[in-house]
Amino acid sequence: MDIKLTIDGKEVVVPQGTMLIDACRQAGADIPTFCFDPDLKLAGSCRMCVVQPKGWRNLVASCVTPAQNGMVIETESPDVIEARKVVLELMLARHKLTCHTCEKDGECNLQDYCYRYGVTESRFVGKVHSLFKDDSNPFIERDYDKCVMCTRCVRACDEITGARAINVMDRGHHAKIATSFDGELADSPCVFCGQCIMVCPVGALSSKIAAGKGKPAQNEKVLTTCTYCGTGCTLELNVKNDKVVGVTSNRDPEWSPVNRGALCVKGRFGWDFINSPERLTTPLIKENGEFREASWDEALNLAAQKIKGIKEGYGPDSLAMFSSARITNEENYLAQKLMRAAIGSNNVDHCARL
């Protein structure tokens, strides 16, 4: 059944059971959030998404309040703005403001909302204890002093990956995200998929492999398909100055049909072989057991001459080709065409059996 309500003076019709946040967004309102994630269970904890229903005593968190027939909602009333500013000030009170060196600079919800509501500093000065902890794993950096306790990482770990490696430890001022017994990630069920980094709304979680190479907000992002297993996950190569400097993912099923942004440790953190100094950069010809650099013309002419010699001396079936499960369809097509049409043999295979 559909219900009707008024949001910022605009009438909207939504199915019964719709949460206010979705109704508000349908009406074109820009609702700020930290803990809300459309793919994860509702937490209703950050209070950033509060809105004001007319005639109600309190503001309500729109992400966990079902829309009701006849409701009249204001999404940017003075009360709402004041409440959101207080939420931001409370977060700033325990947030290390090092935006200039932060990986999330430019795509950080806290930064964006403070800008939006003109919150420059926090009134709530008091004891600030650093929860700094060095975790020696080579993949995931967790900076507790930037955490806003939205628990999206906890829910992504449970609800997307199912690793259940982390949860909230302690309460109140001392609350923090930790593995059981507050140990290192490597000793927990963590599989270093980095889904926690994907959902983090601030700079509390980031990639150690990409650190310092380019802020994701400033990188060009090229959507492509992963080079590792056969699942066919979509990922975004982050590019800066014609160099791959990181991997992020797109969660839209229209662009990431298989994985919806989820990746594994190889997809998210196994990309820097691309920049390895050991990459081959020029053709090589072996002479007296040693390789020497050669021009393309020299290498290809010599290769063609050797292949022709064998074909003429022993027949086309004395040659064989191993094509590759790592190159593209177009390249595999040409490879087998070369073997069949140019050389004249069906001796072409690849590592499908290995």
Binding site: C264, S324, Q336, L338, H350, R353
Partner: protein, 528 residues
């Protein structure tokens, strides 16, 4: 896969994993299976000699002996037939060969099979009932099922089970091989196989050959070529004189590396095209630098047959060239000119010769890609195969007897060595061992050994031990665990300096597929 990946999260009511350590080798598919079990209560059956991560969530876990897959399938089918759980209507309308299959299966009672596989008869019954009574049951397998001397029989048995219960052609069901390399499906589709052109059109079929001869303007050979494993053997015998290797590393990935090395050394000419100087490239006479996935445009086809775009993010490194340009240039110098302006232009040619890709264009592939078959430009692609009928019409049951693995343990080599991959590395490690984080996290190989076997041998966790088979020995750090059968040891094949494939067998191949028996080698483990 006959079905699609996301069905494993949303539609399957029961998932039977055999020979796939999904969370390590296809992690994102592993997440989806786990979520289906945890959120929707899907039933899970795991058959694996190692207690893999997903075994912890399984309703039935069958730690069966490597190489006894056919017996296990026959045992489950025996229960299904005897307890009246078979899908009679499906068998009647969509299959043939049931009687012959049922006759063989009748001998494989749960008690007989329990003896062969080393598992409880009651667990076989439980697994059979869970699978057969579920509204939609999917079987997923990987190389754990196929890398056996009876690999083809194992896969056929898997199909028998699905046919017997009507688990084909509907959402959440199917026979689902999880393919291990990002474009292994595409390489097969494109005819990088010795017996077929694109879309599995046989080279021995006169009509198919005539079609390609016309398109390519040249006469083509009608005799089947050599598989990779056979080509290595023929090189060893001196019949293959020259090889072109593109983005492959047989010096780490192929069975019995000593034999591979001798074979490559006997070649008159070896050409390698790769992005790194791999162990194989080091053996080459000429090495040509290609480019990685980050530097190229094109398409990959994943394990669910979905063709997706690969997009160029950065320029070629150094003087390296696009792999397609290298192939064209070499072909032209061989006297068969090839000239294209872009990968898209090559794809357009592929479409005209490949019925299952005929309806695809780069524009159509832009967002979600398309699963083949996609025969026309208005066809939406096919996420689920065999809905109305099978390619051959009726689904064919195969009557398959259990055959023991070719290499069995004896007094000298009393345990079974099995090999596979880790979550943290990929295939021969050419890429992952040069990825800084992955290399730091897992810098070296280990051998997994059960606590009881370790105690009997006086081996402690972390100790370097010697593992030997009839091919050779390697020294590896012992990882003493409980999650493996006591008569099985397991190692990874990513590490050239401690290469598992020095131990594996190149003499024994599946007679149909030519796949090596990687999951079963008779072995010995000892203190140094």
């Amino acid at each position: 896969m006959t079905n699609s990946i996301n069905e494993l999260e949303n539609d399957s009511k029961c998932i039977f994993l055999i020979g796939t350590n999904t969370t390590e080798n296809h992690p994102v598919i592993g997440y989806k299976i786990r979520q289906n079990v945890l959120k929707n209560g899907a039933k899970l059956i795991v058959a694996d000699p190692r207690r893999i991560e997903l075994a912890e969530l399984a309703d039935v876990y069958l730690p069966f002996q490597p190489g006894t897959d056919v017996a296990l399938f026959n045992g489950m089918m025996n229960v299904i037939i005897n307890e009246g759980l078979a899908d009679r209507e499906f068998i009647e309308n969509r299959t043939e060969g049931y009687e012959a299959m049922a006759e063989v299966v009748a001998k494989y009672t749960p008690e007989v099979v329990a003896e062969i596989c080393g598992v409880d008869a009651e667990d076989i019954r439980k697994a059979a009932r869970l699978y057969a009574e579920s509204e939609a049951a999917a079987v997923c397998y990987a190389m754990g099922l196929t890398q056996h001397s009876t690999g083809t029989d194992n896969v056929k048995s898997c199909c028998n089970l699905a046919l017997l219960t009507g688990n084909l052609g509907k959402p959440g069901a199917g026979v689902n091989p999880l393919r291990g390399q990002n474009n292994v499906q595409g390489a097969c589709d494109m005819g990088a196989l010795p017996v077929v052109f694109t879309a599995y059109q046989a080279v021995t079929n006169d009509e198919a050959r005539a079609k390609f001869e016309k398109a390519w303007g040249v006469e083509l050979s009608g005799s089947n070529g050599l598989t990779l494993t056979k080509a290595i053997n023929k090189a060893h015998e001196g019949e293959i004189k020259g090889m072109i290797v593109i983005g492959e590393n047989p010096m780490v990935s192929d069975p019995d590396l000593h034999h591979v090395e001798e074979a490559l050394d006997r070649l008159d000419f070896l050409l390698v095209q790769d992005i790194f100087l791999t162990e194989t490239a080091k053996k080459a006479d000429i090495v040509l630098p290609g480019v990685s996935f980050a530097e190229k445009d094109g398409t990959f086809t994943n394990t669910e047959r979905r063709v997706q775009r690969v997009r160029k993010a950065i320029s070629n490194i150094g003087d390296a060239r696009q792999d397609w340009e290298i192939i064209c240039d070499l072909s032209t110098r061989l006297g068969y000119p090839m000239s294209y302006n872009s990968p898209e232009e090559i794809f357009e040619e592929i479409r005209t010769l490949t019925p299952s890709y005929a309806g695809m264009t780069y524009a159509r592939l832009e967002g979600k890609g398309l699963p083949w078959p996609c025969p026309t430009e208005d066809h939406p692609g096919t996420p689920i195969l065999h809905k109305e009928k099978f390619n051959r019409g009726l689904g064919l049951f195969h009557a398959i007897e259990y055959i023991e693995p070719a290499e069995l343990p004896d007094d000298e080599y009393p345990i079974i060595l099995s090999t596979g991959r880790s979550l943290y590395h990929y295939h021969t490690g050419t890429m992952t061992r040069k990825a800084t984080g992955l290399h730091e996290f897992m810098p070296e190989n280990v051998i997994q050994i059960h606590t009881a076997l370790a105690q009997a041998k006086g081996i402690v966790d972390g100790e370097v031990v010697r593992v030997s088979t009839r091919r050779g020995s390697i020294d590896l750090k012992a990882e003493v665990i409980d999650g493996i059968r006591e008569d099985v040891i397991f190692t990874y094949f990513h590490f050239a300096e401690a290469a598992a494939n020095q131990l594996t067998n190149s003499d024994v191949l599946d007679p149909v597929a030519g796949i090596p028996e990687y999951k079963v080698s008779a072995a010995r483990i000892e203190k140094i």
